[in-house]
Symmetry: C2
Subunit: 287 residues, 2 copies
């Protein structure tokens, strides 16, 4: 993953003073661990080389790249991308890095990124064939994992609806493994309005629920997954609110063949999204 | 979830002294949080009413049921099941419970369960149509989640192979959400021998790997999932060892439609196991 010309761009940053945990810009960036400060500034932190790389090529942009000497030398290609994008590169001490990261083994680089708020109407204008709606999902790891899976399944947008977690929460960002930067992330407070807008845009709206009256395999066999589709997923603890499930075109259950009482949210979402991906793919020539 | 006759069976336990964190039997049970003590005793802890319920009906058996007064009263049906199975019921104080549990909000009951070691040959004698092999998966949450998904997809056995996590690790047990008690759990140190035994029993062995040369959808379209199948899954950090992937009948990748670099382990396993479940189901009348 490291650049071929390790350290070639040292001159960009090596003469700068090293920022510490008390340097005002590090102190300010560190506050982005808190939702309140993320919302006030429209910024968030992406840590680790993979996320930083994606952030530097994404539409939203990056305000600043922090890294230890070692990491900046190792990831010369990130420094090059930052320079190309006009992003300041700031070397930090080990404790400066620790202040900016949440993981036990941070990989040396952190970017201050701009949140990119895509209104639902703008996301729908792109005519996505697959959309995932996270309705009130509070767990950041679950939300980020479903977003990552949605990206892999070819979704064009993920909607954080209702009382869902902040998509820019550090744990959520890490769980997306870079996918946060690949698709339209929409935040909308009112799940019922989201469903109405999705249907208005011509999408079939399917509620994923263990109590659904439609079996996923039957739906696939009957051709019910070949149209552009939005899947609604609820929290693992509370499921989908009944009125939201009722507003969907169908309530779909993943079949349980063994004696498990249920699937966890990430597994159920993977099965549903990939059932759609397969049905949508069968309508076009194989890549 | 509570019994219809809450507290009817108080007489079974109410006159007993309340065990505390210092009572020798609680001290001994608490040691089961450590792998070394689990292996030495062949016992493990299952916490929460759902897991305790499953444990009491499973083949392995339960050595003792601990619970707070409140929880034992609330879960009279568990007390009834324990009495029916000849399992001692021991009331514990709040700190006694805290010593036995690992979660922030324990739900009041913990069972000391017997590990049930099913040799691979015995599991294969049951002619399972679907088997999941966890090859060197170290993360207990991931391993437990895949086991739960395998149960839901109808697997008859899950094999913890190589340097995999202890299936009786507390976090793994909790992630299985009771499914640990539903299927044959096999532990086998040598993944290569596992693959040979699976193939010897007539199972098709498929290695799930992001670098596989066979596309999962193509395999399903070509009828490659209609025979009894064992899936090999490697750790998220290191994947499957190349020699193990090479020993499988095919190396299968879940197609990536978007820009995600990969799926996480639990999502990839869910997609693979459910592709098999659907193909196997299509060969028999719908339930």
């Amino acid at each position: 993953m490291s650049g071929q010309h390790e350290g070639r761009l040292d001159h960009v940053w090596a003469a700068e003073p090293r920022f510490t945990a008390r340097t005002p810009r590090v102190v300010a960036a560190r506050r982005l661990h808190r939702r309140r400060d993320r919302e006030a500034t429209g910024r968030f932190l992406a840590e680790g080389p993979q996320a930083v790389r994606e952030a530097l090529t994404a539409a939203g942009g990056v305000h600043e790249l922090f890294g230890t000497d070692d990491a900046l030398r190792r990831h010369d290609e990130l420094v090059a991308a930052a320079v190309a994008a006009g992003v300041p590169v700031s070397p930090v001490t080990g404790d400066g890095l620790a202040a900016l990261t949440e993981t036990v083994a941070p990989q040396g680089v952190v970017a201050v990124c701009a949140q990119r708020h895509v209104p639902l109407a703008a996301a729908l204008a792109g005519a996505p064939r697959l959309v995932a709606v996270l309705a009130g999902i509070r767990d950041p790891g679950n939300a980020g994992t479903v977003l990552r899976t949605a990206d892999a399944a070819g979704a064009g947008a993920v909607v954080f609806a209702g009382d869902a977690v902040d998509p820019y929460n550090g744990k959520c960002v890490r769980a997306t493994a870079g996918s946060l930067f690949h698709l339209d992330v929409v935040r909308d407070g009112d799940p019922a309005a989201v469903v109405a807008a999705l249907r208005g845009a011509g999408l079939t709206v399917l509620a994923a629920t263990g109590y659904g009256d439609t079996d996923l395999d039957d739906l696939a066999d009957d051709g019910g997954l070949t149209r552009p589709t939005a899947w609604l997923f609820g929290s693992e603890a509370h499921g989908l609110p009944p009125e939201l499930a009722a507003a969907a075109d169908a309530r779909v259950r993943v079949p349980l063949h063994g004696r498990a009482e249920s699937l966890n949210l990430a597994a159920a979402a993977a099965v549903c999204l990939y059932a759609s991906a397969r049905a949508l793919r069968n309508r076009e020539p194989r890549r």
